[in-house]
Amino acid sequence: MKKSFAAALAASIVLACTLPAMAQSIDEQVNTLFANSTGWFVSFIFSPFPGTSFPWIVGWLVIAATVFTIYFGFIQFRAFPHSIALVRGDYSDPEDAGEVSHFQALATALSGTVGLGNIAGVAVAVGIGGPGATFWMILAGLMGMASKFTECTLGVKYRNEFPDGTVSGGPMYYMTKGFEERGLPAGKILAVMFAIFCILGAFGGGNMFQANQAHAQIANVVGDYPGWITGLIFAAIVFAVIVGGLKSIASVTEKVVPFMGVLYVLTALVILLMNADKIGWAFGQIFEGAFTGLGVAGGFVGALIQGFKRAAFSNEAGVGSAAIAHSAVRTKEPITEGFVSLLEPFIDTVVICTMTALVIIITGQLVSDPETGLYVLNEAGSAIQTVDGNSGVALTSAAFSSAFGWFQYVLAVAVVLFAFSTMISWSYYGLKAWTFLFGEGKTKELVFKVIFCIFVVIGAAASLGPVIDFSDAAIFAMAVVNIVALYALMPIVKRELNSYLTRLKSNEIKKFT
């Protein structure tokens, strides 16, 4: 007995020692395999319009957001006050107390989207595109509200309700049911394509990328150590939550993440107030840079691409993930969830991302030429020279720390928690796509969850350039399929909207308080 224990111990020590090496070689193999087999897909998704450097996928998202904005008559501005009233619960039937409230649906969807995009993504956008990128980011956020509105209304309208009271919804369901209702072909094919991309996106951008960045941030604070250790710990926690049903960890995260978000915004506000005299100048830089580029890499087109791209990465409007998150709410009117969801890109992009950008600009992280006022590029000419040569999450960290030294630790905790909550959300989105393809069932769901946990370790272990490129591409591929469906189904949303607004006007729908 003792002997076998000792043998097992020895074996596990050997395993632990060889793991890094194994992970290393696996990494290389995975890298090569992915790069060879998926490179065409990545370059297809991110390929620019002919003769420009503007990726067509960004254009695709922005055009869709513009179409929805115009088609629904600037719904994001018209319905904004009503959205707030819905979230406050003014229109909630007291009889429904105990069901998921609009506030809860919004908070949960937000904790899935607020994350690295708001911290690292914005720093990348401003670092490459200059302050002007902020302008385009805000614009993309405002337009994205209409995309969210459209997809979330459809998500609720065509969700599946099962006899046990649980609900499954999302683009897969509106593609099949909605297309059938309108007599359109290929709904099923679109749905299967979407589900596949969603699973890939869940393993990649919603998992590996998060694990990877969380490890980078921890290593930044405590010093460098092998990534697979972080990966194993993360995977164990994720496993405990999604397989073991250990709800306490998830609910603690769900409670801490919103406070982290609020703390982040408040700290940013304090820094802005401390530099109140520079706010006017910062907005001047943002507007000037939006149209002139102020000498940044790629000129004003560079600012525009960066702004649009990072906004899309951050708020996921048009991607379809939010339609899954919002579809479980209890409401008699699907359109009300659309109204509520349009607040999501507003909070995520227009508020939080703008805060990050303003703090980076105001704390003077970007080096400019004192004589010409133009920004100085780094040696490679690929980005603006920053004070300490930082980029990405390190740039945001440096900007905040320049005002409050302790904030880098708060930020490290926030990044880890944001990453974790994004993983939990995406494990759910991926699972919904998985069960759509393979059907509901304990074993089938377990298979997905175990694979998901394995990808956490792989993601944290090393920088998997091609794999992460691919997973980003998969998330955007979701948008390609999803937006086709949104165009096809937008008349249905319009009908719902008109009917609801008429009844709201005639007081048929009224406040309960």
Partner: protein, 144 residues
């Protein structure tokens, strides 16, 4: 029967005392009883995607369990004793919801049991009795 007495009931022995007290009161003043059980709930908490998905099913379960474990026993006991009573089962903030029920026509007073929480938790979260004493539209009796 217009006059009503609302009893805040949670199945604890303190709330049993409150019911006993309210029964005597009701008999004396010929009022009806409303046995109110409130499930603590706020629309502003944060849930995971899974919790959101299962919420509707959970709620159905919770309501069933509350009926079976808390309300049914006391209602049976009351009807055996020949006391006329109705029950209310709601979600919400306990004191606020009791006040909402008390706002209904004809409610004369609210009777609750004293829960005897520690001083600390009362200081941090406030107590049902304290909130009722401050905000109730009708007299409140607290039964030890």
């Amino acid at each position: 029967m217009n006059k009503k007495i609302v009893v805040g009931y949670d199945g604890s022995s303190a709330s049993d005392n409150a019911v006993d007290f309210a029964v005597n009161l009701a008999k004396a003043s010929q009022a009806g009883l409303v046995i109110a059980h409130i499930l603590e709930w706020s629309p502003y908490t944060f849930l995971t995607p899974n919790e959101i998905e299962e919420r509707h099913a959970r709620r159905t379960e919770e309501l069933e369990r509350a009926h079976k474990a808390v309300l049914d026993p006391v209602m049976q006991k009351l009807s055996k004793d020949g006391v006329e009573a109705t029950s209310e089962l709601r979600y919400g903030h306990i004191a606020e919801t009791l006040i909402k029920i008390a706002d209904a026509d004809g409610v004369e007073q609210i009777v609750i049991g004293r829960t005897g929480h520690s001083q600390l938790s009362t200081r941090v979260f406030g107590s049902v009795a304290g909130s009722l004493a401050q905000a109730a539209p009708v007299p409140v009796t607290i039964v030890p």
